[in-house]
Amino acid sequence: MRNTKILAVAVAAVAITLGANPAHAQLRVDVESGFFSPLPIAIPPFHDPGTLGLGNQIAAVTASDLERSGLFKPASPAAFLQTTESLARGPRFGDWRLIDAQLLLVGSITPASEGRFRAEFRLYDTLSESQMLALAFTSEHSNWRRVSHLIADRIYSRVLGEEGYFDSRIVYVSETGSQANPQKRLAIMDQDGHNHRFLTDGSSLVLTPRFSPDGTQLVYLSFAAETPRVHLYDLRTRRETLLGDFPGMSFAPRFSPDGSMVVMARAEAGNSDIYTMNLRTRSLRRLTTHPAIDTSPHFSPDGTQVVFNSDRGGKQQIYMMDTDGGNIRRVSFGKGRYATPVWSPRGDLLAFTRIYKGVFYVGVMRPDGSGERMLARGFSVEAPSWSPNGRVISYFKEERASNDGQQKSRLYSIDVSGYNERQIPTPLEASDPSWSPLNP
């Protein structure tokens, strides 16, 4: 199958050892402290002597990734002084310093065997006139976007000292129809909105898709039967299966970090509690037993804790427990209602939804409840999901519906600093984003 192939396509990467002393570049960037002004970078079209037609495109997608992160500022190609052809013989660093490009990416594309192409690139610090990175990727022609994302990831991690997130995807719920009868479909796309496709046909209402840790499966809620239940979607086979045949509604599913379990909520006699399901045996284990609403569970990245929200204290707040259901303690103590807590993949923060005085917020706090900050607000902002490197949070933002029930709902991302809120393009209205891990 075609999508199987795309997922499985290997991108061969090799380090290029040409060039002098790439190991000790001077540029050092700290993005953890306070306001950060984006790094100027020049990304001229890749030299494409074999006219594979990818030179402009790869440069543009790489530049677009870096620009959207808010941490890089690609210079306008109109300002470039040195041509791509001339660059192939070596950069004139003075020309690039003159247009304030602190970083320079020089790339070339050449044909490889079996219709593949090879993209080779070098990253320079124009001030010290030193090479920071030299690498080549070989892949199929159809895979050029992914190669561009991989190049952007390598630049990001070389300059910022943390892993990138551009070679990743987002699954979400695509919406049409009115509030009374919405049609909702699972859809998947690259993190920049490209390579979009629908996974389900809209015949069943679906909600809250979430990736497996290896990126090959989704868990989500489907109303395919009369009772809403957690389902599994295999991205390789495109098969949907019901996850566990037990009475009552099951919902709010998320994989454990090792992929062996799904933690979810289940309702019995009107009361929602939290369970884990062993995916191999399909057996359930109950973690909470409380008449309050316990839902939206999420494993910590080290697999030792489950965070969830509960109204056991009166109002909805965030709680933490051990994975056997013991040691339950409250985490959030602020005003309003707290919901949908999600651990950062780094383990250092929880993102959550907060509703206070009729306004929705997406915020972050430390796992002990300290250091609470609001990042985004609106009539309705909900469902935070972390980029694989724990740097960016996606969520959806809904406007008030018109009186004919049409709702405007779109996906957004924001840097964990609270800066750089961006819309993620989708063809239709959108909700419930879930960011994939880095593609395998």
């Binding site: 009868n181 809403p228 009107g270």
Partner: protein, 207 residues
Amino acid sequence: MAPSGGKASDTCRLRGDLPGSATAAGDRNQGDEDHTMSSWKILTVAVLAVFLTAGCAQRADEAATSASSSASSSGGSSSGASAAPAQVEAGSQEDLVVSVGDRVFFDFDSSAIRADQELALDRLIAWLDTNSSARLLLEGHADERGTTEYNLSLGERRANSVREYLIAGGVAGARLQTVSYGEERAAVLGSNENSWAQNRRSQFRVR
């Protein structure tokens, strides 16, 4: 959005079905349609007076909900509002809508049966007693002012509150199934207090 269900029957309503007080709800339902506002208000008052003295044929389908409830795909067949009561098949969804009403309302973030909704549920118990073979699907719904997953739980709780009330009134539990739609099936369109009040509901479907 013009109400399509027929004004005459829409204005005959069960007191217990209204999200707030009857007159306040009347204002709400038509709040966005100022061209019909004043005449509708007068009609409401007039009909409420009739209701209080004589008790007209009751319809829970309110003006503002009739257009949208027929759009709901959750298996109901509550359209056909023009049919006269005489033609309604006993024990059918239409019978339920006409003689009892097909929903009760809840307060914000609550699944407790409100005192002003008990009359509707008591009538439902009597109806189920009369129509002893009827089985109901009790849907639980929430307004849009919560998170998706919490609202699924809240809807489940609301449907179950109704179920427990009916069982306490002598209805066999086997006749009553519940399902939560969370905030996914609004009965009244729009994002305002009026629509939210009417979307916080449990709705009954004859199966």
